[in-house]
């Protein structure tokens, strides 16, 4: 030991040891066989752990769902919602009982368990495959969840950006560009799902990957037992027009006035698939441009400029069509500077190319992740499926690392020139339009879009003489005129809303001359919160706790304490400004920004046609839509509100249950 210690003391610590020769990755081809019905089976034997997984994949062409957009999203949950042999509860319990898992998607069914429960989990999987009953109540539940999620996504800048770029890059009448709406979701029926299942769940377009503690012989037996009675069927082939590049750079903006950050995505359609000879070249190219946290975009926009937490790019791969994308979320104020840097880097990689050092780092990182992915035996099954599905050379994956390491700087530079299109990009931004005004034209023609990726009507102010005060005046006229409106002094309004199956009741008391306000929220008969403004003070009582509002909070709350706040803007010294005409859910509306003396802002939208207030926004309390105006005491009042707030998880649809003008209110009501 003494000797050896002396011997090892020679070790040179001044530099990193050289790596050994790159490991030979021996990828064993999975065993494979095909049933008479056309089902292709791949078996990846791996006896390390006593587990086995069965993964069924349906290989169909992308579907354009049109007026039923969103239907395929329900298929998986509907498949596992019960069979003619088992209710959903029974199915869940049987899966849980053996500690297994079973799930499905629109093109897949996946089951895994310990080896000893293999027979049971296969029985359950086959039951789901053959005998689903697609219960109506499950579809109703799923629709409700999807509509709730959709409503939330309309307010989420990243979702908005995703819809916008999909619509621009692929077009709305392309499977990758079409979007779901409340309407398309509502259109979906159990029959649609049944028809889809009958059409596409066919063995002749399916792969079954079996991974784990099983050999080919056993696999053949269990597959025959469970899947040979599955019947073939004619499956339609679908083709789509190839999306085209924009002729020059175009800027697309979604104005989201609540934004403090801009979501930037620079993108265009691209043909790139696993079976493209330059697939690997584009992997390396993308890594160098923006694939990781040492790539050019990250180093420039985050490390050097500090514009963002992260900036990345991607070059997709897809049998049909894919896209190039480069993006980041940046502070509003640096939006144009950030776009400038993106465009700079995109140009630079085409014009100057990459260097040897970048190439080596990209290769090391990509081969590292290739190697790590192999740890999961399902990777081998996916490789086998890909080879068949994309018609790849048999040695596509076995030569992957050699091909990667053989790539040269010239190869990458050639790919950059071919696939990066600095002059044909959609430069998309979801951000605060007022703050971005005039800053985006330098990058290309600017078009406005709404939060669903539809072109927003560019609305000219036709009436040059219109002012914020005139808009407010028009509104007061529209709801009944100043006399009628001022005759309303007090009011008691009861509203109801349903959230996640629970009914919320809201009672609001207004006492305008007395400068008093109270709002109580009750659930299941219990008051959950009570907000009172009176005697120049405000307090919120929630769950037995009282919180006094400070002066600033009180001033802000005051902006909404009156039955018709517009009547009081003048005496409260609020300042008003008119910020053009906007499209609010398809209706043209004047945007009026109301600021109180402490600087808090509320933004109101008044319909150009009817003059009515249709929407109100506030940074803290969220936004409220006003619908279904009805006449009462000579004044029009909205009978329906939709409230979106950062404090509530889902938009709240509230309807007025009762409305009483000029009731007599007592001090007790504002205690």
């Amino acid at each position: 030991m003494v000797l050896s210690t002396v011997g090892y003391a020679q070790v040179d610590r001044s530099k990193y040891p050289e790596p050994g020769p790159a490991p030979k990755i021996e990828l064993e081809d999975p065993a494979t066989f095909t049933l008479d019905n056309g089902l292709k089976v791949f078996v990846v034997e791996n006896h390390k752990l006593p587990r086995v997984a069965f993964s069924l994949v349906i290989n169909r062409d992308p579907i354009l769902e049109k007026e039923k957009a969103g239907m395929t999203g329900f298929v998986g949950d509907m498949l596992t919602a019960g069979t003619s042999n088992r209710s959903k509860d029974e199915l869940d319990e049987e899966v849980d009982f053996i500690g297994a898992s079973l799930s499905a998607g629109s093109t897949s069914i996946y089951a895994s368990s310990l080896k000893k429960h293999q027979g049971k989990i296969l029985d359950l999987m086959a039951d789901v495959l053959y005998n689903p009953i697609f219960p109506q109540e499950e579809l109703d539940k799923l629709k409700k969840q999807a509509i709730t999620a959709l409503a939330t996504s309309k307010d989420d800048p990243n979702s908005i950006s995703g819809k916008l770029t999909a619509a621009l890059v692929f077009g709305k009448d392309h499977p990758y560009g079409e979007i779901q709406t409340e309407e398309t979701l509502e259109n979906i029926t159990v029959e649609d799902i049944e028809t889809y299942y009958q059409t596409y769940f066919k063995p002749n377009i399916a792969y079954l990957a079996i991974v784990g503690d099983i050999d080919k012989k056993e696999a053949e037996k269990v597959v025959k037992d469970h899947f040979s009675k599955w019947e073939r069927g004619e499956v339609p082939e679908l083709n789509y027009e190839m999306p085209s590049l924009p002729e020059n750079n175009r800027v697309a903006l979604v104005d989201r006035s609540a934004s403090v950050q801009s979501v930037i995505d620079i993108t265009y359609p691209l043909e790139m698939s696993l079976n493209n000879d330059e697939y690997l070249d584009t992997r390396v190219l993308n890594y160098i441009l923006g694939g990781g946290s040492t790539s050019r975009l990250f180093m420039n926009l985050r490390e050097d400029k500090g514009y963002t937490y992260g900036a990345y790019s991607s070059i997709g791969s897809d049998k049909l069509v894919t896209s190039f994308s480069a993006g980041a979320s940046v502070r509003t104020a640096v939006t144009d500077s950030a776009i400038h840097e993106f465009i700079y880097e995109i140009h630079r990689i085409v014009e100057e190319g990459v260097n040897e050092e970048e190439l080596d780092a990209a290769k090391a990182s990509l081969s590292g992740s290739f190697g790590r992915a192999l740890e999961s035996p399902s990777t081998l099954a996916n490789f086998a499926i890909n080879i068949d599905r994309y018609d790849l050379p048999k040695d596509f994956y076995t030569t992957y690392l050699q091909r990667l390491s053989a790539l040269t700087v010239d190869d990458i530079n050639r790919a950059a020139k071919k696939y990066i299109k600095p002059e044909n990009m959609y430069i998309t931004i979801v951000g605060n339009g007022s703050d971005l005004k005039g800053k985006l034209e330098q990058f290309g023609e600017v078009s406005l879009f709404d939060n669903q990726g539809n072109p927003a009507k560019e609305i000219e102010m036709t009436d040059a003489n219109i002012t914020a005060e005139k808009v407010i005046g028009k509104y007061i006229d529209a709801i009944g005129g100043e006399d009628a409106v001022s005759s309303l002094e007090t009011a008691k309004i009861v509203m109801k809303a349903e959230v996640q199956g629970q009914v919320i009741e809201m009672t609001v008391l207004y006492d305008d001359p007395g400068m008093r306000f109270n709002q109580k929220v009750a659930m299941m008969g219990n008051t959950v919160s009570s907000t009172t403004l009176a005697d120049g003070k405000g307090s919120v009582v929630a769950m037995g706790n009282t919180q006094e509002l400070n002066d600033e909070q009180y001033e802000e709350a005051k902006m909404n304490m009156f039955l018709v706040p517009e009547l009081h803007y003048g005496e409260l010294m609020y300042s008003l400004s008119l910020d053009g005409i906007k499209d609010v859910e398809g209706e043209n509306a004047y945007k009026v920004v109301v600021s109180n003396p402490t600087g808090a802002k509320t933004v109101n939208y008044y319909s150009v046609d009817s003059g009515l207030k249709i929407k109100s926004e506030n940074e803290k309390s969220g936004e409220m839509m006003f619908l279904d105006y009805e006449e009462k005491n000579g004044v029009l009042y909205p009978m329906k509100n939709i409230v979106k707030s950062p404090m509530i998880p889902v938009p709240l649809n509230t309807t007025v249950e009762s409305l009483e003008f000029n009731p007599s209110l007592t001090d007790e009501d504002f205690k």
Binding site: M1, S4, T5, Y8, A9, V11, R13, S14, K15, Y16, P17, E18, P19, G20, P21, A22, P23, N46, H47, K48, L49, P50, R51, D92, E93, D96, F97, I98, G99, A100, S113, L114, K115, K116, H117, G292, S293, T294, A361, A364, S365, L366, S367, G368, S369, G371, R372, L374, E375, S376, Q502, M523, M524, N526, V528, A542, M543, N545, T546, Q547
Partner: protein, 442 residues
């Protein structure tokens, strides 16, 4: 249906002696300087995971200098005599690898996963860290800032983020488990460079470390490299401080309220557990799965789905070397008082104590546990971690292969027995997390 269930039970009881787990093979040796080395060879994928477990956690800290072990988790990425500042992570990543580290009350664990031809590099880098890590003012200053941000993000700014520190503080009167690994920022600010150096020399020494290498390796070559890079590292000169403080058994319930930046009240209950290697630990783990593991578990089904008194409930056995705590928490549903939820939780605990667990549920529990245990060893990083913990916590690396047997030894009666023995009302800690606004009132 009942007949079918019985039949199924019978079938399973017949197959239960067949142990599902395939053994994890390994070799181990100890260098003269005390470094324990475990190797697991699996050539199926050309990757290798290299990990070092330092047997130092927050419990080894000076009560006046808490947060040191966690601080070192950061500090030891600063570099070494030969590895430049900030280079450690970048180098691993640019060689196609990934890396991470964590700190608990008992241990600090570092690991990296790399293509297998870079094993020598990984060993070199870990040996640099053990031999002469860079500990200087600049690194300490940088990492203080990082740890500050981490504390803000993960504890102070996170609703309910302080549950662990607040619970530990009350669950232990004497034992150093009373503070959480994140420790105190004041202590870190007050500490001098000498103190950090001293902590490094005391605990980050080969005789307090377990080096584990799992993956595509050659045993002889790996052993040679390990000796080449690690033999010259001197053993620690000092005796390693391991607290031998016995936590006195509590006889009265401790009840307290924490006001936090939250909207919805939460109830936390904590019960003291036996030492990690006590056989009852397995029963307590199964009990926690029975109570809150998954949608069909007792408390989730009853309190979240049926009564809808809780938004979420969880039972987590934090099993520690010297005896951890069994933490149960429930977040109340809209309009439900903490008291109401607590009494429902107590009723369910009492139900288990009085009636035990049904045969059907017990079998399901065994199946879930078995599936979980098997899956734990699905990756090289999982295996490396289990091997090193088996050695350090159970003094027997082969524990990795015996674990399932130990769970199998747990009987239905054991579940009822441990529920009665450990979930006792008189020695527990009960905390209410309430909105800060409520505090203003009092």
């Amino acid at each position: 249906m009942k007949k079918f269930a019985l039949l199924m039970l019978w079938a399973c009881s017949v197959c239960s002696p067949i142990i599902a787990q395939n053994d994890i093979e390994f070799r181990e040796f100890t260098l003269d300087n005390g470094l324990h080395v475990i190797m697991h060879k699996d050539n199926s994928t050309p990757i290798v995971v290299t990990s070092v477990l330092y047997h130092v956690g927050s419990k080894n800290e000076n009560p006046e200098r808490t947060g040191f072990a966690h601080f070192f988790e950061h500090l030891l990425f600063e570099g070494s005599e030969h590895i430049g500042r900030g280079e450690y992570s970048k180098k691993i990543q640019s060689e196609g690898g990934t890396l991470n580290a964590y700190t608990s009350n008992d241990i600090t664990y570092y690991y990296e996963s790399l293509p297998s031809n870079k094993l020598e590099m990984a060993l070199y880098m870990e040996s640099e860290r053990m031999l002469h890590a860079k500990i200087d003012e600049e690194g300490v200053e940088t990492q203080r800032e990082v740890v500050k941000e981490e504390k803000r993000q993960r504890y102070d700014n996170q609703p309910y983020g302080t549950i662990l520190p607040e619970t530990l503080k009350r669950a232990y009167a004497e034992h150093p488990y009373q503070w959480a690994p994140i420790g105190s920022l004041e202590h870190l600010n007050e500490a001098s460079l000498d103190e950090f150096m001293d902590f490094y020399k005391s605990f980050y020494v080969p005789n307090n470390a377990t080096l584990t290498i799992a993956g595509d390796i050659d045993y002889a070559q790996t052993e040679e490299w390990v000796k080449m890079y690690f033999s010259e590292i001197p053993a620690g000169a000092k005796e390693i401080y391991r607290p031998s403080i016995e936590e006195p058994k509590k006889v009265t319930e401790i009840r307290d309220v924490v006001y936090d930046n939250i909207q919805i009240p939460a109830v936390i209950q904590a019960y003291n557990l036996p030492p990690k290697n006590d056989p009852d630990s397995y029963a307590m783990d199964m009990l926690s799965t029975y109570l809150t593991g998954g949608n069909s578990s007792l408390m989730t089904k009853e309190l979240v789905d049926k009564q809808q008194k809780a938004l979420a409930v969880a039972a987590i056995p934090l099993d520690l070397e010297d005896g951890g705590i069994f933490i149960m928490y429930g977040i109340t549903n809209m309009g439900i008082k903490a008291e109401d939820l607590e009494s429902e939780i107590d009723l369910l605990v009492k139900q288990v104590q009085d009636e035990g667990v049904s045969e059907q549920d017990f079998k399901k529990l065994q199946n879930i546990i078995e599936n979980d245990l098997v899956s734990k060893n699905a990756t090289m990083s999982g295996i490396a971690q289990n091997l090193s913990q088996s050695h350090v916590f159970y003094g027997d690396t082969d524990h990795i292969n015996n674990e399932l047997e130990l769970y199998r030894d747990v009987s239905r009666e054991d579940l009822q027995r441990v529920a009665k023995k450990y979930l006792t009302l008189d020695g527990r800690v009960v905390l209410y997390y309430l909105p800060k606004s409520e505090q203003n009132q009092q």
